[in-house]
Amino acid sequence: MDKAENAYQMYSDYIDSTIISYNGPFDAQVLSVIAENIEYSLSNNPRVSKKIFKIFIELAQNISYYSAEKQKNEEGNFFGSGILMLREMVDHYSFSTGNIVEKHQVLPVIQKCETINMLDREKLRQYKRKLRNMPSGTPGGGNIGLVQVALTADYPLEYEVVTVDESTSFYILNVRVNKS
Protein backbone atom coordinates (compact mmCIF):
# COMPACT_ATOMS: atom_id res chain seq x y z
CA MET A 1 0.00 0.00 0.00
CA ASP A 2 1.39 3.43 -0.83
CA LYS A 3 1.39 6.34 1.56
CA ALA A 4 -1.79 7.92 0.23
CA GLU A 5 -3.73 4.67 0.55
CA ASN A 6 -2.38 4.20 4.04
CA ALA A 7 -3.48 7.66 5.08
CA TYR A 8 -6.88 7.09 3.52
CA GLN A 9 -7.26 3.80 5.39
CA MET A 10 -6.39 5.53 8.67
CA TYR A 11 -8.84 8.32 7.98
CA SER A 12 -11.72 5.97 7.12
CA ASP A 13 -11.05 3.76 10.14
CA TYR A 14 -11.23 6.85 12.27
CA ILE A 15 -14.49 8.02 10.72
CA ASP A 16 -16.01 4.52 10.94
CA SER A 17 -15.31 4.22 14.63
CA THR A 18 -16.78 7.61 15.56
CA ILE A 19 -20.18 7.48 17.25
CA ILE A 20 -20.47 11.08 18.37
CA SER A 21 -18.35 14.10 17.66
CA TYR A 22 -19.04 17.69 18.64
CA ASN A 23 -17.27 21.01 18.49
CA GLY A 24 -18.73 24.17 20.02
CA PRO A 25 -20.15 25.68 23.21
CA PHE A 26 -21.00 23.25 26.03
CA ASP A 27 -24.36 24.66 27.09
CA ALA A 28 -27.18 22.72 28.75
CA GLN A 29 -29.17 22.34 25.51
CA VAL A 30 -26.29 20.77 23.61
CA LEU A 31 -25.31 18.58 26.54
CA SER A 32 -28.81 17.14 26.86
CA VAL A 33 -28.82 16.21 23.15
CA ILE A 34 -25.40 14.54 23.48
CA ALA A 35 -26.53 12.75 26.67
CA GLU A 36 -29.53 11.37 24.79
CA ASN A 37 -27.28 10.23 21.95
CA ILE A 38 -24.95 8.45 24.34
CA GLU A 39 -27.82 6.62 26.01
CA TYR A 40 -29.29 5.68 22.65
CA SER A 41 -26.12 4.50 20.93
CA LEU A 42 -24.91 2.45 23.92
CA SER A 43 -28.30 1.09 24.99
CA ASN A 44 -27.25 -2.50 24.20
CA ASN A 45 -24.52 -2.31 26.87
CA PRO A 46 -25.88 -0.87 30.14
CA ARG A 47 -22.55 -1.10 31.96
CA VAL A 48 -20.71 0.92 29.33
CA SER A 49 -23.62 3.29 28.85
CA LYS A 50 -23.72 4.18 32.53
CA LYS A 51 -19.97 4.66 32.75
CA ILE A 52 -19.62 6.74 29.58
CA PHE A 53 -22.60 8.84 30.63
CA LYS A 54 -21.00 9.55 34.01
CA ILE A 55 -17.66 10.40 32.42
CA PHE A 56 -19.35 12.60 29.83
CA ILE A 57 -21.28 14.61 32.43
CA GLU A 58 -18.20 15.40 34.52
CA LEU A 59 -15.89 16.24 31.61
CA ALA A 60 -18.53 18.27 29.77
CA GLN A 61 -19.28 20.24 32.92
CA ASN A 62 -15.56 20.95 33.37
CA ILE A 63 -15.31 22.31 29.82
CA SER A 64 -18.48 24.33 30.28
CA TYR A 65 -17.02 26.02 33.38
CA TYR A 66 -13.28 26.05 32.84
CA SER A 67 -12.49 26.18 29.12
CA ALA A 68 -10.48 29.33 28.36
CA GLU A 69 -12.42 29.70 25.13
CA LYS A 70 -16.00 30.95 25.55
CA GLN A 71 -18.68 30.91 22.88
CA LYS A 72 -22.15 32.34 22.70
CA ASN A 73 -25.03 29.89 22.45
CA GLU A 74 -28.29 30.63 20.60
CA GLU A 75 -29.70 32.54 23.54
CA GLY A 76 -26.66 34.79 23.72
CA ASN A 77 -25.15 33.33 26.91
CA PHE A 78 -21.47 32.47 27.05
CA PHE A 79 -20.30 28.94 27.73
CA GLY A 80 -16.92 27.26 27.69
CA SER A 81 -16.35 25.57 24.37
CA GLY A 82 -14.32 22.62 23.18
CA ILE A 83 -14.52 19.34 21.34
CA LEU A 84 -15.85 15.96 22.32
CA MET A 85 -15.67 12.57 20.66
CA LEU A 86 -16.94 9.08 21.39
CA ARG A 87 -15.41 6.24 19.39
CA GLU A 88 -15.92 2.50 19.36
CA MET A 89 -12.74 0.43 19.23
CA VAL A 90 -12.31 -3.36 19.05
CA ASP A 91 -12.51 -4.06 22.77
CA HIS A 92 -13.28 -0.68 24.31
CA TYR A 93 -14.95 2.69 23.88
CA SER A 94 -12.83 5.78 23.81
CA PHE A 95 -14.16 9.10 25.04
CA SER A 96 -12.13 12.21 24.35
CA THR A 97 -12.48 15.90 25.09
CA GLY A 98 -10.33 18.86 24.15
CA ASN A 99 -10.35 22.49 25.16
CA ILE A 100 -8.21 25.59 25.21
CA VAL A 101 -6.34 26.37 28.43
CA GLU A 102 -4.37 29.49 29.35
CA LYS A 103 -0.62 29.16 29.66
CA HIS A 104 -0.70 29.44 33.47
CA GLN A 105 -3.21 26.57 33.65
CA VAL A 106 -1.00 24.10 31.78
CA LEU A 107 1.15 23.00 34.69
CA PRO A 108 -1.75 22.58 37.18
CA VAL A 109 -3.70 20.60 34.56
CA ILE A 110 -0.81 18.21 33.94
CA GLN A 111 -0.06 17.86 37.66
CA LYS A 112 -3.70 17.08 38.36
CA CYS A 113 -3.70 14.23 35.82
CA GLU A 114 -0.31 12.96 37.02
CA THR A 115 -1.47 12.91 40.65
CA ILE A 116 -4.66 11.04 39.78
CA ASN A 117 -2.79 8.43 37.71
CA MET A 118 -0.31 7.80 40.51
CA LEU A 119 -2.98 6.86 43.05
CA ASP A 120 -4.45 3.38 43.36
CA ARG A 121 -8.22 2.96 43.68
CA GLU A 122 -8.30 3.17 47.48
CA LYS A 123 -6.11 6.29 47.55
CA LEU A 124 -8.18 7.83 44.78
CA ARG A 125 -11.35 7.34 46.84
CA GLN A 126 -9.65 8.95 49.83
CA TYR A 127 -8.61 11.87 47.63
CA LYS A 128 -12.19 12.25 46.37
CA ARG A 129 -13.54 12.32 49.92
CA LYS A 130 -10.97 14.95 50.86
CA LEU A 131 -11.85 17.14 47.88
CA ARG A 132 -15.56 16.74 48.57
CA ASN A 133 -15.14 18.05 52.08
CA MET A 134 -13.54 21.26 50.92
CA PRO A 135 -15.96 24.19 50.86
CA SER A 136 -17.41 25.05 47.44
CA GLY A 137 -15.34 27.56 45.53
CA THR A 138 -12.01 26.43 47.06
CA PRO A 139 -9.31 26.38 44.37
CA GLY A 140 -9.01 22.85 43.08
CA GLY A 141 -12.56 22.02 44.09
CA GLY A 142 -13.34 21.33 40.46
CA ASN A 143 -10.84 18.46 40.45
CA ILE A 144 -13.35 16.13 42.04
CA GLY A 145 -15.04 15.59 38.67
CA LEU A 146 -11.79 14.37 37.15
CA VAL A 147 -11.18 12.05 40.11
CA GLN A 148 -14.65 10.58 39.56
CA VAL A 149 -13.80 10.12 35.86
CA ALA A 150 -10.66 8.18 36.79
CA LEU A 151 -12.66 6.02 39.21
CA THR A 152 -15.23 5.27 36.51
CA ALA A 153 -12.80 4.54 33.63
CA ASP A 154 -11.10 1.19 33.14
CA TYR A 155 -7.67 2.66 32.30
CA PRO A 156 -5.50 5.53 33.57
CA LEU A 157 -6.22 8.98 32.14
CA GLU A 158 -4.48 9.68 28.84
CA TYR A 159 -3.70 13.35 28.35
CA GLU A 160 -1.74 15.71 26.17
CA VAL A 161 -1.19 19.44 26.11
CA VAL A 162 -0.28 20.98 22.76
CA THR A 163 0.95 24.56 22.50
CA VAL A 164 -1.32 26.71 20.32
CA ASP A 165 0.41 30.09 20.63
CA GLU A 166 2.28 32.15 23.20
CA SER A 167 -0.61 32.43 25.63
CA THR A 168 -2.74 29.33 25.07
CA SER A 169 -2.52 25.55 24.74
CA PHE A 170 -4.93 22.78 23.79
CA TYR A 171 -5.62 20.19 26.47
CA ILE A 172 -6.74 16.76 25.28
CA LEU A 173 -8.04 14.09 27.58
CA ASN A 174 -8.86 10.53 26.57
CA VAL A 175 -10.67 7.99 28.72
CA ARG A 176 -11.28 4.33 27.96
CA VAL A 177 -14.05 2.01 29.06
CA ASN A 178 -13.90 -1.72 28.28
CA LYS A 179 -16.76 -3.33 26.40
CA SER A 180 -16.99 -6.05 29.04
Partner: protein, 130 residues
Amino acid sequence: MENILIKGDHGTNFIPTVDFNAETGICELGGESYLEDTIEFYTPLFKWLQEYIVNVKKPITFNFKLRYFNTSSSKCIIDILHILRKYQEEGGEIKVNWYYDSEEEDIDDELEEIEDFMVETNLKINLLPN
Protein backbone atom coordinates in the same frame (compact mmCIF):
# COMPACT_ATOMS: atom_id res chain seq x y z
CA MET B 1 -45.00 23.30 57.82
CA GLU B 2 -45.34 22.88 54.05
CA ASN B 3 -44.33 19.76 52.16
CA ILE B 4 -41.93 19.87 49.23
CA LEU B 5 -42.96 18.09 46.07
CA ILE B 6 -40.87 18.41 42.92
CA LYS B 7 -41.43 16.23 39.88
CA GLY B 8 -38.21 14.95 38.39
CA ASP B 9 -37.29 15.79 34.83
CA HIS B 10 -35.07 14.15 32.25
CA GLY B 11 -34.95 17.13 29.93
CA THR B 12 -32.30 19.79 29.48
CA ASN B 13 -31.39 19.36 33.13
CA PHE B 14 -31.81 16.13 35.02
CA ILE B 15 -33.83 17.25 37.99
CA PRO B 16 -34.37 14.76 40.80
CA THR B 17 -37.78 13.91 42.19
CA VAL B 18 -38.24 15.39 45.66
CA ASP B 19 -40.93 14.40 48.14
CA PHE B 20 -40.45 15.82 51.65
CA ASN B 21 -43.45 15.22 53.90
CA ALA B 22 -43.70 17.15 57.17
CA GLU B 23 -46.57 15.03 58.56
CA THR B 24 -44.91 11.63 58.09
CA GLY B 25 -41.27 12.73 58.34
CA ILE B 26 -40.53 10.71 55.22
CA CYS B 27 -38.23 12.44 52.75
CA GLU B 28 -37.45 11.04 49.34
CA LEU B 29 -34.89 12.06 46.77
CA GLY B 30 -35.00 10.02 43.57
CA GLY B 31 -34.31 9.92 39.86
CA GLU B 32 -31.40 11.75 38.32
CA SER B 33 -29.51 14.71 39.68
CA TYR B 34 -27.46 16.61 37.17
CA LEU B 35 -28.18 20.30 37.28
CA GLU B 36 -26.47 23.40 36.07
CA ASP B 37 -27.02 25.10 39.40
CA THR B 38 -26.89 22.39 42.00
CA ILE B 39 -26.58 24.62 45.07
CA GLU B 40 -29.57 26.72 44.03
CA PHE B 41 -31.70 23.58 43.75
CA TYR B 42 -30.58 21.95 46.99
CA THR B 43 -30.54 25.00 49.29
CA PRO B 44 -34.36 24.98 49.90
CA LEU B 45 -34.08 21.26 50.74
CA PHE B 46 -31.41 21.96 53.38
CA LYS B 47 -33.56 24.76 54.79
CA TRP B 48 -36.63 22.51 54.95
CA LEU B 49 -34.72 19.86 56.91
CA GLN B 50 -33.33 22.43 59.33
CA GLU B 51 -36.77 23.93 59.87
CA TYR B 52 -38.28 20.48 60.46
CA ILE B 53 -35.57 19.65 62.96
CA VAL B 54 -36.13 22.88 64.92
CA ASN B 55 -39.95 23.03 64.78
CA VAL B 56 -41.39 19.56 64.20
CA LYS B 57 -38.71 17.60 66.07
CA LYS B 58 -40.16 14.23 64.97
CA PRO B 59 -38.30 11.25 63.43
CA ILE B 60 -37.01 11.52 59.86
CA THR B 61 -36.77 8.66 57.39
CA PHE B 62 -34.67 9.69 54.42
CA ASN B 63 -34.99 7.52 51.32
CA PHE B 64 -32.47 7.95 48.53
CA LYS B 65 -33.66 6.50 45.22
CA LEU B 66 -31.18 8.19 42.93
CA ARG B 67 -30.22 6.45 39.70
CA TYR B 68 -27.66 8.99 38.66
CA PHE B 69 -25.96 11.94 40.32
CA ASN B 70 -22.94 14.02 39.33
CA THR B 71 -20.12 15.00 41.69
CA SER B 72 -21.55 18.43 42.50
CA SER B 73 -24.84 16.77 43.52
CA SER B 74 -22.86 14.33 45.64
CA LYS B 75 -21.54 17.30 47.63
CA CYS B 76 -25.14 18.25 48.39
CA ILE B 77 -25.97 14.67 49.38
CA ILE B 78 -23.09 14.90 51.85
CA ASP B 79 -24.56 18.13 53.21
CA ILE B 80 -27.96 16.44 53.71
CA LEU B 81 -26.27 13.55 55.54
CA HIS B 82 -24.37 15.99 57.76
CA ILE B 83 -27.65 17.70 58.74
CA LEU B 84 -29.20 14.33 59.60
CA ARG B 85 -26.18 13.17 61.59
CA LYS B 86 -26.15 16.37 63.61
CA TYR B 87 -29.86 15.88 64.37
CA GLN B 88 -29.12 12.32 65.50
CA GLU B 89 -26.32 13.53 67.77
CA GLU B 90 -28.75 15.99 69.34
CA GLY B 91 -31.16 13.15 70.12
CA GLY B 92 -33.28 13.17 66.96
CA GLU B 93 -34.44 9.89 65.52
CA ILE B 94 -33.31 9.29 61.96
CA LYS B 95 -33.16 6.49 59.45
CA VAL B 96 -31.33 6.68 56.12
CA ASN B 97 -32.13 4.19 53.37
CA TRP B 98 -30.44 3.91 50.00
CA TYR B 99 -32.46 2.01 47.41
CA TYR B 100 -30.49 0.51 44.54
CA ASP B 101 -31.83 -0.87 41.30
CA SER B 102 -32.06 -4.63 41.91
CA GLU B 103 -32.25 -5.33 38.16
CA GLU B 104 -28.98 -3.55 37.51
CA GLU B 105 -26.16 -6.09 37.09
CA ASP B 106 -23.22 -3.83 37.71
CA ILE B 107 -23.69 -1.90 40.93
CA ASP B 108 -20.10 -2.03 42.22
CA ASP B 109 -19.51 1.66 41.46
CA GLU B 110 -22.74 2.61 43.22
CA LEU B 111 -21.94 0.53 46.31
CA GLU B 112 -18.54 2.19 46.49
CA GLU B 113 -20.13 5.63 46.40
CA ILE B 114 -22.49 4.76 49.26
CA GLU B 115 -19.59 3.36 51.27
CA ASP B 116 -17.78 6.67 50.68
CA PHE B 117 -20.83 8.57 51.94
CA MET B 118 -20.82 6.49 55.13
CA VAL B 119 -17.08 6.92 55.71
CA GLU B 120 -17.31 10.63 55.03
CA THR B 121 -20.28 11.38 57.29
CA ASN B 122 -19.96 8.62 59.87
CA LEU B 123 -23.63 7.82 59.36
CA LYS B 124 -25.24 4.42 58.91
CA ILE B 125 -26.97 4.01 55.56
CA ASN B 126 -29.21 0.97 55.01
CA LEU B 127 -28.81 -0.56 51.59
CA LEU B 128 -32.08 -1.87 50.19
CA PRO B 129 -33.15 -3.33 46.82
CA ASN B 130 -35.78 -1.36 44.93
